[in-house]
């Protein structure tokens, strides 16, 4: 398929612009500051629309089919949220204008609802993504120990953690210490007790962890950390398993980030925009990014706190995304949130039980909203990649692969609560078929997918000879 540039024809244009109703004037900008060339495509509206519609058809979203991407919570994106987010009163509101009480109210109420859901005392909606929330959380940890005059340099992360955890730590000037998981896939309490010392600022935990397993000793873990004067950070990416069932604050969590584009149904957008709100206990509230929203004498206002870490993004956060999360929580309501977690966990355990005799399940225990299979015992040199690519031919988006790193050839499966029993049964049948193909027709797997506009792409070539833009010459 051609690029938009290859469809360009001189003199074409895809919009009609307003007329100039004031006098032109020459020489406003001096020649030194003027640009000569402007290389952009010239296409008419019809060609433009056909091009991008054709591109959209070469994509696969949750609206197209089952998308069990572990740790991403690819639940259905409610269409009513899209309509609400497009309301003129939200879309056209300038961040620096007065008379924005609607926006401030929505953000304030969302912060409160997130507090209630997690048990935290205060929330900020400023971070634009989960990793951004992690960075914000680590900045808060840094500020906390700075204020106390304690120079703690170490952040502990389990070996199953998402790469953003240690990467965020480094961005804040911390050193990372990896904790090996025990044979149940959980934190080894003895190991933790061994490495803990006065240099440890915090531990970053994903709960349930990336194996889909709940840390059964969480209360002891947070106790050990607090006794050491350390903080406990929770990566809330997997919050879908806990909604309405338990509160992170009750586990002893001090800081948490949430992913609105996972747990709270806002669309993933092909890689963003997301939103990664951060919640904290009372003692950390003063460090939250500025400004904070307050409600006084019937009005919402923005104030700046002197102890704040500063700002992590211009203005207030991805407001357009928070609108959708707000709508979702109001739609689902107090009665619905727990049902979400219950159905997400039931769906995952259902798949796990049905697949554990077809593939290798390294941690054969109760899971929460996701579980991990391994590529062990796959015959004929069939790899996890092969399984994933073959799923595409069956109209299913592959699960997360090769993560977490502690499982060989990991396949992380998260169905979410918005999938029906029939969809799950179809997935089980397909996974069974593919396992049989691995046995009898492995070449189908090695060369999959066959049903897409392109076959398996050469990633090595793309990395050795990076071609990152089109050139007309």
């Amino acid at each position: 398929m051609q690029l938009i540039f290859e469809k360009s024809r001189a003199g074409r244009i895809g919009v009609s612009l307003p007329e100039l109703d004031v006098p032109k004037r020459d020489g406003i900008i001096s020649k030194d500051n003027l640009r000569d060339e402007l290389e952009l495509p010239e296409v008419d509206e019809v060609t433009l629309i056909r091009h991008y519609i054709e591109l959209s058809r070469r994509n696969f979203g949750v609206d197209n089919g089952f998308y069990p991407l572990g740790s991403c919570t690819m639940k259905y994106n409610p269409k009513i949220n899209e309509d609400i987010a497009k309301l003129e009163g939200f879309v056209e509101c300038h961040p620096l204008q007065p008379n924005a009480q609607g926006c401030l109210r929505l953000m304030y109420e969302l912060e409160n609802m997130l507090c209630e859901i997690t048990g935290m005392d205060a929330f900020t909606l400023q971070p634009a993504a989960g990793a951004h929330g992690e960075l914000t959380g680590l900045m808060i940890i840094k500020a906390y120990f700075n204020e106390k005059g304690e120079d703690r340099k170490i952040i502990i992360t389990p070996d199953s953690s998402h790469g953003t955890n240690p990467a965020s730590s480094t961005m804040c000037g911390f050193r990372n210490m990896t904790l090996k998981s025990n044979d149940k896939g959980q934190i080894d309490l003895d190991e933790l007790k061994k490495i803990i010392n006065k240099d440890v600022a915090a531990i970053m935990l994903t709960i349930p962890n990336t194996l889909g397993i709940f840390e059964e000793h969480i209360l002891e873990i947070t106790k050990i950390m607090h006794k050491n004067g350390s903080l406990v950070y929770m990566d809330g990416a997997n919050m879908n398993a806990l909604l309405g069932v338990t509160k992170p604050a009750d586990m002893g969590i001090d800081i948490i980030h949430l992913n609105l584009h996972k747990t709270f149904s806002t669309p993933h957008g092909g890689g963003g925009p997301g939103s990664g709100p951060v919640g904290v206990v009372k003692t950390l509230e003063r460090f939250l990014p500025n400004p904070r929203i307050i409600f006084k004498e019937g009005k919402y206002n923005l104030i700046n706190n002197p102890k704040s870490i500063g700002k992590v993004k211009s203005f207030y956060g991805n407001f357009g995304v928070t609108v959708k999360a707000y709508s979702y929580i109001r739609a689902v309501g107090s009665d619905g949130l727990r049902k979400v977690a219950e159905n997400a966990v039931l769906n995952a355990n259902y798949l796990k039980e049905k697949l554990k005799d077809v593939y290798v399940l390294p941690y054969n225990s109760l899971c929460k909203h996701e579980f991990v299979l391994s590529d062990e015992a796959l015959p004929n040199g069939v790899t996890t990649t092969d399984i994933a690519k073959r799923l595409i031919d069956y109209g299913i988006h592959p699960m997360t692969i090769y993560f977490p790193l502690i499982v060989h050839g990991a396949m992380m499966i998260e169905p979410t609560e918005t999938e029906s029993k029939e969809t799950l049964d179809y997935f089980i049948r397909v996974m069974g078929k593919i396992r049989a193909e691995a046995e009898n027709k492995p070449e189908l797997l090695h060369n999959a997918p066959f049903s897409m506009p392109v076959g398996r792409l050469d990633a090595v070539r793309a990395a050795r000879n990076p071609d990152l833009r089109y050139s007309s010459n």
Binding site: Y402, V460, R464
Partner: protein
């Protein structure tokens, strides 16, 4: 591929060829297989001093990034600039054209801490 007998080896899968007080360093056949297709090599600057066991270069494949650790302490004399254009030489010829750096060896005693080809092969067997 056989591990050449005249080379010395490290536990991190580097080899070193000793030519008087020059050491030529690369990674073993086992290492290049583990990495799969190499796409980029980050080389040190000439004149840089390294310590035994410390990072001297970085090798990227599509799926991973690995450090190359120096088998001995010394000064970087030369780097294999061919790897800029064709990093895959390391996959194709890890013991020959796929050499990575040439070092001026500081302390010949450090060589004694390294493994012979047989010892390296045993080490690989044990750690499968």
């Amino acid at each position: 591929m056989e591990n050449p007998r005249e080379l010395k080896y490290t536990k991190e899968h580097e080899w070193i060829r000793i030519e008087q007080d020059i050491g030529i360093v690369g990674i073993t056949d086992f290492a290049q297989k583990q990495l799969t297709d190499i796409v980029f090599v980050e080389l040190p600057e000439k004149g840089k001093r390294v310590e035994q066991g410390k990072q001297i270069a970085t090798i990227e494949s599509v799926k991973s990034v690995s450090d190359v650790f120096s088998p001995v302490s010394g000064e970087v004399l030369e780097v294999n600039n061919e790897l800029g254009e064709k990093p895959e030489i390391i996959n194709q010829d890890p013991y020959g054209k796929g050499w990575i750096v040439k070092l001026k060896i500081e302390n010949k005693e450090e060589i004694e801490r390294l493994m012979s080809a047989e010892e390296y092969e045993n080490f690989l067997k044990e750690h499968k």
